[in-house]
């Protein structure tokens, strides 16, 4: 009897409990609607990229024409008649304001200003200034956006290069191309998402090294693949002597069987990645020769890029190859052209460098445009910093040089949703400091990612207990250059 009574009470309380609990749960459930992402475990952290843009992108691919060694903005884009006017006079201390110099000119007791010995002319509807040594780029004035106020923190080549390529000066971070490969994946599964092409001009050169296209702490599939200038454009891709396509296929099939056994046994996703990489390399054996074979290019194309474009290893050839790679869905094509470090003999060296790059850079942009691809391809042209407005060493207008200048320099961009036919920012009348609208390297990176449909503060990777971004802890999108 007592037991039944107890049971009864238990029943009531259970009903009560369940009823009340149901209501309470309902209330909690309702409340939880207001807390976003409470159950997906992400806890508000940016999640791993899923290989798609965060929002509709303007640009789908990037071609970065890196002018290695730092071309002088004062001889190309930033027209400063004041420097000619005051040629030979000392850089006023009020302008330099005690800012640091490199070891190469810090001991100079005079800083004689020197103006551009090349003539400048206005081009395009916006009247953008261009120097006479880049006539073909000048013809594209209505298609490109010259940024005159780039700003970096490093004053020497290695840290500056590393900074503009990876967002940090020290060189353990992933390169821009790797970040994009990580964020957006590969469009064409037959080619790497990030390709690197090298060339060398006759001017004073500075090294390029694989840390500039490193994947850093990201998975190694995001590393830049360097195309060699030899007959074998991608090293180790060809079958070894005595192995034909059929053998290779059979070998890969057998290898995949073995790998699949391991995969089933251990379930390690790395094994799956490995199988996929082998398959991609196999497909690259078909895709790469189709792209790198320049022998079928029409006369029209050769004329456009200049006859150098068929000589492997030249900048022109790399521009042509870059267009073909990009057209085939390679997310990020990075060119480096060495030889812009004009500490002396600037007139001759820059003339030579301009001759190497002017025609083919312009051709690349026009070529993308005439194929209807420029609106979705972002082309960037520029170096790691600029050059000083004063002469390095003794002043001789016929043979002068300029030292490194990180405070204000020029680059240009085209396509990919960048406002065409404009220039952005202004340097002061000495071309030394920024007068208006600075664009820091972090801002530049944020803008590039934005054009690719990525939020720079959301594209993160956790490594050694810290979340890393290409823009680190800074970066403002430069709205003024976005169309």
């Amino acid at each position: 009897m007592a037991n039944e009574f107890f049971d009864h009470r238990m029943n009531i309380t259970r009903k009560h409990f369940l009823g009340k609990a149901g209501l309470a749960l309902g209330g909690m459930a309702l409340g939880s609607l207001l807390v976003k992402d409470i159950f997906n475990g992400a806890g508000g952290e940016p999640s791993l990229p899923i290989g798609l843009p965060h929002f509709a992108p303007k640009a789908k691919r990037i071609i970065y024409l890196f002018q290695n060694g730092a071309p002088s903005q004062l001889e190309l884009f930033d027209h400063k008649p004041k420097l000619l006017e005051m040629q030979g006079q000392d850089l006023p201390e009020s302008i330099r304001n005690g800012q640091r110099l490199t070891g190469m000119t810090a001991s100079q007791d005079k800083f004689p200003l020197i103006g551009s010995q090349f003539a400048f002319k206005q081009h395009g509807q916006a009247g953008t200034w261009f120097s006479e040594i880049i006539p073909n780029i000048a013809k594209l004035a209505d298609d490109i956006c010259v940024i005159k106020t780039m700003q970096t923190e490093a004053i020497n080549h290695d840290p500056a290069l590393t900074f503009i390529q990876t967002g940090a000066q020290q060189g353990n971070r992933p390169s821009m191309g790797s970040w994009l490969s990580y964020g957006l994946g590969s469009e064409n599964k037959n080619l790497p998402a990030f390709c690197v092409l090298l060339s060398r001009g006759k001017g004073n050169g500075q090294g390029v090294y694989s840390k500039l296209w490193t994947n850093g702490f990201l998975d190694s599939i995001h590393q830049g693949v360097q195309f060699s200038n030899s007959d074998e454009r991608v090293l180790y891709l060809n079958n070894p002597n005595g192995t034909d396509k059929v053998d290779r296929r059979r070998m890969l099939d057998e290898l995949a069987k073995l790998n699949n056994i391991s995969l089933q046994e251990f379930g390690d996703p790395e094994i799956k990645t490995k199988i996929e990489q082998y398959e991609m390399a196999y497909r690259m054996q078909t895709a790469v020769p189709e792209l790198t074979d320049l022998s079928n290019e029409s006369d029209l194309t050769v004329k456009m890029y200049g006859p150098d474009c068929l000589v492997p290893g030249t900048y022109a050839a790399n521009c042509l190859l870059a267009r073909k790679l990009s057209e085939s869905g390679v997310r990020f094509v990075q060119l480096y052209h060495q030889g812009w470090d004009s500490h002396g003999n600037l007139i001759n060296e820059m003339r030579g460098q301009a001759q190497d790059t002017d025609r083919s850079s312009a051709a690349l942009i026009s070529d993308l445009k005439q194929r209807g691809l420029l609106d979705e391809t972002l082309v960037i042209w520029g170096g790691e910093f600029g050059r000083t407005n004063y002469c390095q060493g003794k002043l001789d207008p016929k043979n002068y040089g300029r030292d490194h200048h990180p405070r204000c320099y020029s680059i240009f961009m085209a396509g990919g949703g960048i406002k065409p036919g404009t220039s952005y920012g202004e340097s002061d009348e000495f071309g030394y400091n920024i007068a208006k609208d600075p664009v820091h390297i972090n801002d530049f990176h944020a803008t590039v990612l934005h054009q690719m449909g990525l939020r720079h503060d959301q594209l993160v990777y956790k490594h050694l207990g810290r979340r890393y971004r290409l823009t680190d802890v800074a970066g403002e999108i430069v709205k003024g250059i976005i169309a």
């Binding site: 899923i50 290989g51 798609l52 843009p53 965060h54 929002f55 509709a56 992108p57 469009e187 064409n188 599964k189 037959n190 080619l191 398959e279 991609m280 497909r283 078909t286 895709a287 189709e290 320049l294 022998s295 029409s298 006369d299 029209l300 050769v302 004329k303 456009m304 200049g306 006859p307 150098d308 068929l310 000589v311 057209e327 085939s328 869905g329 051709a363 026009s366 070529d367 445009k369 005439q370 194929r371 209807g372 691809l373 449909g453 709205k479 169309a483």
Partner: protein, 720 residues
Amino acid sequence: MKDFIRITAHLSTILAAMLLFLFLFQNKIVLPPVLQSVGRMHPLLLHLPIGTFMLSSLFWLFRKQLDAISFQSIFAFTLTISAFTAVLTALMGMFLSKEEGYGGDTLYWHRTLSVIFAIGSYILMLWCQSTDVPKTGLPVFLFSLLFLLIAASHQGARLTHGDRFILQPVQKDSTAASSPITDSSSLFQAALMPLFQSKCVTCHNPQKAKGDLDLTSEAGMAKGGKHGPVWIAGDAQSQILLNIDLPLDDKKHMPPTGKPQLTYEEKNLIRQWILSGADLKKQIRAYDPTDTLMLLAAPFIQRTEITIKKYNFPAADATLIQKMNDPYCAVFPLDQNTPALQADFFVREKYNPTKLTELLKIKDQLVVLNMDNMPATDDDIASLGKFINLEKLILNHSSITNKSALVLSTLPALTSLAIAGTAVDATILAQLQKSPLLREVFLWNTKVTPEDLKSLDPKVNKIRFNLGYRPDSTEILPLTSPTKINESEILTLHDSVGLKHQIRGVVIRYTTDGSVPDSATGPVYSSPIAINKGYTLIKARAVKEGWLSSPVIEWPFFKQGIIAQKAELLSTPDEKYKAKGGLTLIDGKKGPASNFKDEAWIGFREQPFSALFQVDTFQPVYNITMSINKSVSSYILLPAEVLIYAGHSPSTLKLLKKVNPPALTKKELGTVKNDVVHIDLGGVKYLYYKINAKPLPRLPSWHPGKGERGWVFIDEVFFN
């Protein structure tokens, strides 16, 4: 409780009378400051009558569940409270409405309805107190009053919070969407209006219209307020400027204390805009960017982000998309939040036309189709018409012809079409012009000419036809020089020299005698050149119609006739450039001209070069060729003097020949090349040969290092 009700009822009577009186003579009231404070307590009290009256109505609905006496007393109590608070609140509202800044229709209706409700609820209270049992008619009266209460409260809420206060968070902002801010917007709409919107219109709107001023529209601003026009163009004494510049604690300071204030920059902007003419219409782009007003306004101009296109069609099944992807055709959404899809074909060799049929499964979602460089035919793309949302189509270098014109022009959503490098011609243009939305067509490298475009009907030519790069016939470019096929410049007995050029149709003209090949008459290269001599300098240039002939390129070729078995250095090379000693000279490895630091070069400066060679048998030696680097600006030159000794043993050598290589000329200052010293011996037979070469002792006066000693860099010595 009865006393409380009685007293409250009495008080209510007093207040109700007062309310009626004030309502009738509201235009004549002058309020003492004390009552002004009482008036401001209106918001403090106003929710009490609402709550208690609603409670009374609820009790009425549940009256049957209470015993009659309890119901009677509770009902009377709540009604009394609500009547008392209603008249008191209405009274306070009357005071408040007398303050500066209230007016308009909303106030009128709020006041009228509220007063009627207050008096009504007072009457209801009296009615219920005088009789114990609710009468017929009471429910009608009760619920009419409830309805009145809701209406009056609604008007009050509009007055305080403005229209759409509750629904605003879920409604789309129609005003922002209707007028995006671009460079063609007026500066006023882009920079000034948002200021008024955020800092002024909570009080100065058509409902509230404090000071009879409506700042929500240009018309309202033009009308002005109680104190006349808001501004007068160019007048620094404009009303608005006076108000915003007053000290914060001044009564007339705008915005009033407690409301969000204008910042220093915002005040400056308003002032500068009025001073520079208060132009309502002038577009942003009409201003000089360095104009003071423009500089002040720039930070406030929020250009509308390009509106992201919204697609209304349903998304395709994710597993279906996954399944359609293969290495040669990628199908993917344009971004994370859109149903719109893009499909890209890759690798020409792997093109599969049936893939297009498969894509029909996503015909509603496909927005971009990229078949760049695929050999797609007219038949393949005949089904494209079913892709009703396709906006961008890339068919460059495909095999399509004019036959596809109809399909392409009837794609309903197509805006961009790229058919560069295809076989289409001008006949396709007119058909394409019929396309409803097509805006740009890329026709580079087709048969379409600029003349074809000119002959199009200008009235329908809304499409931008891009013909791309067309070579300038006056611009003639120089060809690049030919290249050699042989990797090494050292030839074995049967090797010949092959030349090539990457551009099709190029003619290579060459010489082997050291003369410059003539671009019109020089011998034409057709098959590999046989080399018989020990040392041959080949000079070549490329020639083609429509191009300038290339610069002349030259390569030295060495025939490896007799291979020396041993080579021994008799003098010491420079510490930095000693390579592998004597072996370097006979290892068959040439150094690059541009890099004298290469291991193939041995460099001498302080000591003259001297080396002893042992050759194989008693074969006749006709000549000796020394391969020497010439990098003039790096002080690396031909030797001043070369002496050849020979003999049958190292101890019995005698001088055979003395050669003075050609002297350095000023023209050669920039030269970097591989040069030779060639010594004819006429078929002598010895076992040992010794070669001495003396560097130039003093550089000439035109050289930057004048007076200093020159270098000699040697990589190979050949015997023939």
